[in-house]
């Protein structure tokens, strides 16, 4: 069955709430301002409104309450709204949730999910466009889920709400809501921590996550028209990071383009490039290319934002470059 990313999310939340009464939504604007997508939450609102808490704008308190409740056996998801607003909750996410298991010598667990609608979404400007996966990837103790397809939006959200035993930051890109993929609900889930090979190829590996996944897929289509077969590796999760699949893919193709929406310096792409340098140098027939956002705040103007966007065209150009064309 074909589902959209937004449908996958809504379905996962509904099924998780149905399966486990400890799943609680702290805040409830999961679909942001997308009115079509918001309608998808109606079944959950209808059946489980007692477990959807209406909240004040108090990110520190809500993130902390989610952590405390998770430490006491609940499975809350804290909706932080626009991904940039996780900064209002940073002290709790980074300095409490991430540390509690370690600091307590394994006594406490906080299986809370922090939900963020993040990314460069079109005129969000500097304060509403953050992609926080790289900076949060610097925080041991957090899991960072970055679905790039509808199948993973569904499966990773369901896993996070029902199975995970660690604090999770779930980063959804708002421009992914209408992306579709095939989902067989009876098929076992690809384990968390495994990257998904979205498209097999032999000439170049395009390593992507979140919003860059559909753009990498589109790039691979265009490259095929020129007789170039690109393999698309969808990371699915930034933490854990599936270095093994990345290395295997690059061992096969000999070339790597990393498409990521984080800033260039110290970003997700930088970490992957470092992995390739450390453990995959002998596979590389050409230097690695990063297609990323330069180190600049995101501007408001459409023409300026588009200049920075990790577009299909830029991915194609980078692939041609590593192929020497």
């Amino acid at each position: 069955m074909k589902i959209t990313f937004a449908e996958g999310l809504a379905q996962a939340i509904y099924e998780a709430m149905a399966a486990d009464s400890r799943v609680v939504l702290i805040g409830s604007s999961f679909m942001g301002l997308n009115m079509t997508a918001r309608k998808l939450m109606e079944p959950a609102v209808r059946d489980y409104s007692d477990r959807m808490l209406v909240t004040p704008i108090s990110e520190l308190a809500l993130a902390g309450a989610g952590i405390g409740a998770a430490m006491c056996g609940q499975r809350p998801v804290v909706d932080l709204g626009t991904g940039s607003f996780i900064f209002q909750a940073f002290a709790q996410v980074v300095n409490e949730a991430a540390n509690i298991h370690y600091m307590s010598g394994g006594q406490s667990k906080a299986p809370v999910t922090f939900y963020c609608l993040a990314g460069m979404r079109g005129m969000g400007a500097a304060q509403h466009s953050h992609r926080t996966q790289a900076m949060l990837g610097q925080v041991p103790g957090l899991q960072i889920l970055t679905p790039g397809g509808a199948d993973d939006a569904y499966q990773l959200m369901k896993w996070s709400l029902l199975k995970s035993q660690n604090p999770t930051v779930f980063i959804c890109h708002s421009l992914l809501f209408t992306e579709t993929s095939e989902l067989d609900p009876n098929e076992p889930m690809l384990p968390v921590g495994r990257a998904r090979i979205r498209r097999q190829g032999s000439d170049v590996s395009i390593i992507a996550s979140s919003i860059t996944v559909p753009r990498a897929m589109a790039a691979a289509e265009l490259l095929e028209k020129q007789g170039i077969f690109a393999e698309v590796v969808d990371l699915r999760t930034v933490v854990p990071l599936d270095r093994e699949t990345i290395l295997k893919s690059v061992a096969k193709t000999g070339r790597a383009v990393i498409a990521d929406e984080c800033h260039k310096s110290f970003g997700v792409a930088a970490e992957i490039a470092a992995t390739l340098a450390e453990d995959g140098l002998s596979f590389l027939k050409a230097p690695v290319r990063r297609v990323v956002v330069p180190d600049v705040p995101i501007p408001f103007s459409q023409s300026l934002e588009e200049e920075l966007t990790v577009s299909t065209e830029k991915i194609v150009a980078a692939a041609l470059q590593v192929l020497g064309r």
């Binding site: 405390g68 709790q92 307590s104 010598g105 899991q143 199975k163 660690n166 384990p191 921590g193």
Partner: protein, 332 residues
């Protein structure tokens, strides 16, 4: 207040001394460098820990901060495991991962001391909320200093606690000092209890250096919370006899202030009360000596405890089912 048995009063007396001696050892060993870091002592504030925790059950959940030794002991943690944690040993409550500022003992309901001022408040709200949805009679208690009231999350949490009518007791240990500055220098709101009313929360300011007063006020507040009357804020006026941390030279305190310390000492005050009730000075001296000897033995044993094995440094970053655990553990 008068209905407390002599046995209970003696228990308080023991517990106060237990905390005092525990922290005396921390102070002594910190001065010689054996206790690493900057441990924060609650010397002079012990009555708050003892008086509040006397009214808690094992199922009640406690959160504390960087000055938590007294709370942890009063909630029932093993002094040996607690001391081991303060000096970073394997036998410590957290196997040496936490230290003085991050004491956790899930077995007693001591769910977290957090080293960040005010960082614990909203966690306690979440724990209280979990207790509420589970329809249990459990409550959550959070200890914090008056310094925490300058933090935004204090107000966010009060609002949430009032809004959701959480079974949560806020205990402010108002020692008049936010780290190194007096309260009057950092807020025009003289009483912390005044912050509660706007959020629809009941509150009271009490003498936090009289363990009997603390016990009575905590009992009444906790009974109310268990009965479903919502959160409560108890402001305990107390006095930090020590500096902010061990080694703090306390230049901000006058000689006159230092001289009046003994009158404020909660242990001395309980001793005078017990003497007035007919206890003999010798009897009380004997209790004190017994606790002292016990604590010395605990500390001697703890100092011989093993340090954690460096090979275990990556344990507990994630819980066992984390899919990337093996990868995470491959660190060198």
């Amino acid at each position: 207040m008068t209905d407390l048995s002599l046995k209970m009063l003696h228990r308080f007396y023991e517990q106060l001394w237990q905390i005092r001696f525990f922290e005396g050892h921390v102070q002594r060993l910190a001065a010689s460098g054996e206790v690493p870091g900057f441990p924060h002592l609650s010397t002079g504030q012990e009555a708050v820990a003892v008086g509040v925790c006397a009214n808690l059950t094992e199922g009640d959940m406690l959160f504390s901060g960087h000055r938590a030794h007294g709370h942890v002991l009063a909630k029932g943690s093993d002094p040996y495991a607690t001391f081991c944690e303060v000096i970073g040993r394997q036998d410590g409550l957290c196997q040496g991962r936490g230290g003085s500022m991050h004491l956790v003992d899930v077995s007693t309901g001591m769910l977290g001391a957090t080293g960040v001022v005010a960082g614990n408040l909203s966690l306690a709200a979440g724990a209280a909320w979990a207790a509420q949805v589970a329809n249990k009679e459990k409550i959550a208690v959070v200890f914090f200093g008056d310094g925490a009231t300058g933090s935004g999350v204090f107000h966010e949490t009060l609002n949430l606690a009032g809004l959701w009518q959480l079974p949560l007791l806020f205990v402010c240990e108002n020692n008049g000092m936010a780290e190194f500055t007096g309260r009057e220098e950092h807020s025009d709101v003289a009483k912390v209890s005044a912050f509660a009313a706007p959020y629809g929360i009941s509150a009271q300011t009490i003498d936090g250096n009289d363990v009997l007063v603390v016990n009575a006020a905590a009992r009444s507040a906790i009974q109310g919370i268990r009965a479903g009357s919502g959160p409560y804020l108890l402001e305990c006026m107390t006095y930090r006899m020590a500096g902010h941390y061990v080694g703090d030279a306390q230049h901000y305190r006058s000689k006159e202030e230092m001289a009046t310390m003994k009158e404020k000492d909660p242990i001395e005050r309980l001793r005078l009360h017990l003497l007035a009730k007919g206890d003999s000075a010798e009897e009380l001296e004997a209790i004190m000596q017994r606790v002292k000897a016990e604590m010395t033995a605990v500390v001697d044993r703890a100092r011989k405890a093993a340090h954690p094995d460096p090979a275990t440094v990556m344990d507990y970053v994630y819980s066992a089912d984390f899919p990337g655990r093996e990868e995470n553990a491959k660190w060198n």
